[in-house]
Structure formats: C-alpha cells, structure tokens
C-alpha cells in the first residue's frame, strides 16, 4: 500500500515537471532575448551598461541553486527587459534628434521659400512700377505731341485768319477806294460779303442797277449753299443816329428783298441795322467814312 502511494506521488511530480519549462529552457530564452538586443545594438554602444549587467547575471544563472531559481530568474528577466527598453529608448532618442533636425530643415526651407517669394514679389512690383512709369511717360509724350500739334495748328489757323483778315481789310479798303460794289471775304474761315455804299443812291435805300445785278448773282450762290445769312447795314457818323439806324436797316432790307426775289428762303435771311455803331475805320476822313458805309452779308 505504501509503495503504491509513493509511486503515485512520484508520477505526479514527474508529470508536473514535464509540464513546466525546464530551467535550461528558461535561461536559453533569456539568452536569446539578450542576444537579440545585442544584435539590434550592432557595433553601437546603445544600452551598453544595461546589456553588460544583464549578461553578467545571465552568465551566473545556470549555476543557481534550485530553490533560488525563481528569484534569480525574475532578476535576470528584469535586467534583460531593462536592456531591451534601454536600447529602444536609445533608438528613440536618435529619432528625436533626427526629428528636431527635420523640423529645423522645414523651417529653413520655408524661410528660403518665403525669401524667394518676397524677392519675386519685389521684382514684380519693380517691374510694375517701371511699366507704369514708362506708360505715364509715353502718355505724357503723346499728350505733349498732341498739344504741340494742336498749338501749331491753332497758331497756323490764327496766322491764316489774321492774314485773311488783313487781306480782307486791304481788299475792302481797296474796293472802297476804287468804288467796288461787292467784295467777298472770309470770316472765321467762312465766306462773307461786303456791299459798299456806292451800291445805293446817295442817302437813300435804293440799289443801283449794277449792284442789283451783282446781288442777284450772289443770291444764286447763297441759295445753292443752303445756309442762313445775316444782312447787316452800317453807316458813317454823319447826320443823326436815328436817321443812320433807319437808313442802315432800310438798305439791309433792300438787299434782303433782292435775295428773296431771287429765291433765297426768307427764313434763312436775317436783317439788322447798326447805324454808325460798328465802324470799320475812323470817320475822320473821306476814305474812312466811305469804308464805314456798307452792308455786311455774314454767315449765321
């Protein structure tokens, strides 16, 4: 009976031992873990102290007495674990340094890019300003050229007008002196006509036959032009002003009557009598007074 009991106990102990990993296997497992750490560290000195301490403890592990094995295993495993974490930490430290450098690189790159953008923007603004200046200069030059041309043309026109006016005056004077009845001239570049006092019977508003014929010829011309005209009578300053006003108007109306009879529409003909109010020359001499007695046929 006792033998059977002992046999059962021995078998149970053997079974328990067979199920638990052997001491050698546990040590080998720790050895393998430490070897992996060493391999990962390579030739570097990452976690060197931790690996050394773990290796020393593992070296003494196989000789450990059976009753101390649990504690010894726990200490060795803690040392191996510490070495594993220490090596991983060393790798992370290196990674942190690399990340710091990467951040610096990003900032540097961004600064370079900002500087480049600022440089390009400045260049763009400079070119814009340059273009604007050129544009303004061109516009100013064009305007100056236009103004110069206009001024030149104006001066030319004024010179021509002055020359024409001078010629007209000369012609009028010559006509008056010669006793020409009808003279043409230009007022502001438009044709105008002047009828001398010799066209009328002295002191009356009755046209001489020659003058009437000339006016009929002129009427055909005015009718063809289709413009409006103002017929203005003038006298010298001899006699009363009332009489002069009446005579100047009556003479103008006499001219208007010839034009209307020749077919010029009445609506295109205006009549005025100025008397002696608008003399052409001084009324002091005979010639001057002869010039002042006249009918002006002016474009409206």
């Amino acid at each position: 009976m006792k033998r059977a009991l002992w046999l059962v106990l021995l078998l149970a102990a053997a079974a328990a031992q067979a199920q638990a990993p052997s001491w050698e296997m546990q040590v080998a497992e720790l050895d393998a873990r430490l070897a992996a750490v060493d391999a990962a560290a390579g030739s570097g000195d990452g976690a060197a102290l931790e690996r050394l301490e773990a290796r020393q403890v593992l070296a003494g592990l196989p000789k450990t007495r059976a009753r101390e094995r649990i504690d010894a295993y726990e200490v060795a495993e803690a040392l191996v674990r510490r070495a594993e974490f220490a090596l991983k930490s060393a790798e992370l430290e290196a990674q942190l340094l690399a990340l710091d450098r990467e951040r610096d690189g990003i900032l540097l790159e961004a600064s370079r890019r900002d500087a480049e953008l600022a440089r390009k923007e400045a260049e763009r603004m400079r070119l814009l300003a340059l273009a604007r200046e050129e544009e303004e200069a061109l516009a100013a030059a064009e305007q100056a050229a236009v103004q110069e041309t206009q001024a030149r043309e104006l001066a030319d026109a004024e010179a021509k007008d002055a020359e024409l006016a001078r010629l007209e005056e000369e012609l009028a004077a010559q006509a008056a002196a010669k006793g020409d009845v009808l003279a043409s001239r230009s007022v502001n570049g438009k044709p105008a006509y002047r009828l001398s006092a010799s066209a009328f019977q002295p002191g009356k508003a009755v046209l001489m036959p020659e003058a009437k014929q000339l006016l009929q010829q002129l009427a055909r011309k005015l009718k063809a032009g289709g413009k409006s005209w103002s017929i203005e009578g003038h006298t010298d300053n001899l006699g009363s002003e009332e009489g002069n006003l009446a005579l100047s108007r009556q003479r103008a109306e006499a001219v208007q009557a010839v034009f209307r009879a020749a077919g010029v529409p009445a609506g295109k003909l205006g009549v005025k009598g100025w008397g002696s109010a608008k003399p052409l020359a001084a009324n002091t001499g005979k010639n001057g007074r002869a010039q002042n007695r006249r009918i002006e046929i002016l474009p409206k």
Binding site: E50, E68, D71, E74, V75, A78, L79, R81, R82, F85, A86, K88, S89, L92, E93, Q95, L96, L99, D100, E102, R103, I106, L107, E109, A110, R113, L117
Partner: protein
C-alpha cells in the same frame, strides 16, 4: 597560543558575526531609491504592472527585514531594485515613444502648413 587568548578570539568572532547579522541589508535603501525613481518617471501610469510588482517585492523585503531575516530581505531588495529599474526603463521608453509620435505629427503639420499651403510662421 594560550587558551585565554583563544577564548577571547572566539568571543570576538561571535560578537562580530552577530553584529553583522543584525545590521540592515545594504540593498534595501537602493531598492527604495529605485522604486522612488520609477514613480517619478511616471511608471505608475505608464508601466503600472511592473511598478506594482517592484513595490510588492520591496514590501516583502521590508517585511523580511522586520522579521530579522536579513539574508532574505537582501535578496528581495535586490529583486525589487531590478524590477523597479525595469519599470523605469519601460516608462522612459513609453514617454520617448509618445514624444516621437507627437514630433512626427508636428513635423507633418508644419510641413503641410509651411511648405504646402505657404502659411505664416508658427
């Protein structure tokens, strides 16, 4: 050698042995320092199991010392110290890992903000 001298030597050796046996284990303060260091490394949050094991073993070491089992206390203190050191290493590793992950995200965001969208400085 005379007998009185041998007696004296025997008594002195016994006294010295007794004194040595009664002195507190030298590993105990180191173990306590290691556990404190682990707590300061935030192992309570980052490696709670490892720290709890170290603290339990330290408590066992202190208990053994209290019972006068100094050799046992010494052995447990050594275990506690090594376990605490492992807990500290684990906590340190996890802190670094978190810092690396954060920095990777920050760099990616920075790159996106500065180099892709051309935003202003952080």
């Amino acid at each position: 050698m005379s007998t009185p001298f041998l007696r004296f030597l025997l008594v002195a050796c016994l006294a010295a042995g007794t004194a040595a046996a009664q002195s507190p284990p030298s590993e105990l303060p180191q173990a306590e320092q290691a556990v404190t260091a682990a707590r300061q490394a935030n192992a309570g949050t980052l490696a709670p199991d490892a720290l709890a094991r170290a603290e339990a073993v330290l408590a066992a070491a202190n208990a053994a010392a209290g019972r006068g089992k100094l050799k046992e206390a010494e052995r447990q203190a050594l275990r506690a110290r090594r376990l605490a050191e492992a807990a500290t290493a684990e906590a340190h590793y996890l802190q670094l890992k978190e810092r690396v992950e954060t920095k990777v995200s920050e760099n990616a965001a920075l790159r996106r903000e500065l180099l892709v969208t051309g935003g202003g400085r952080p």
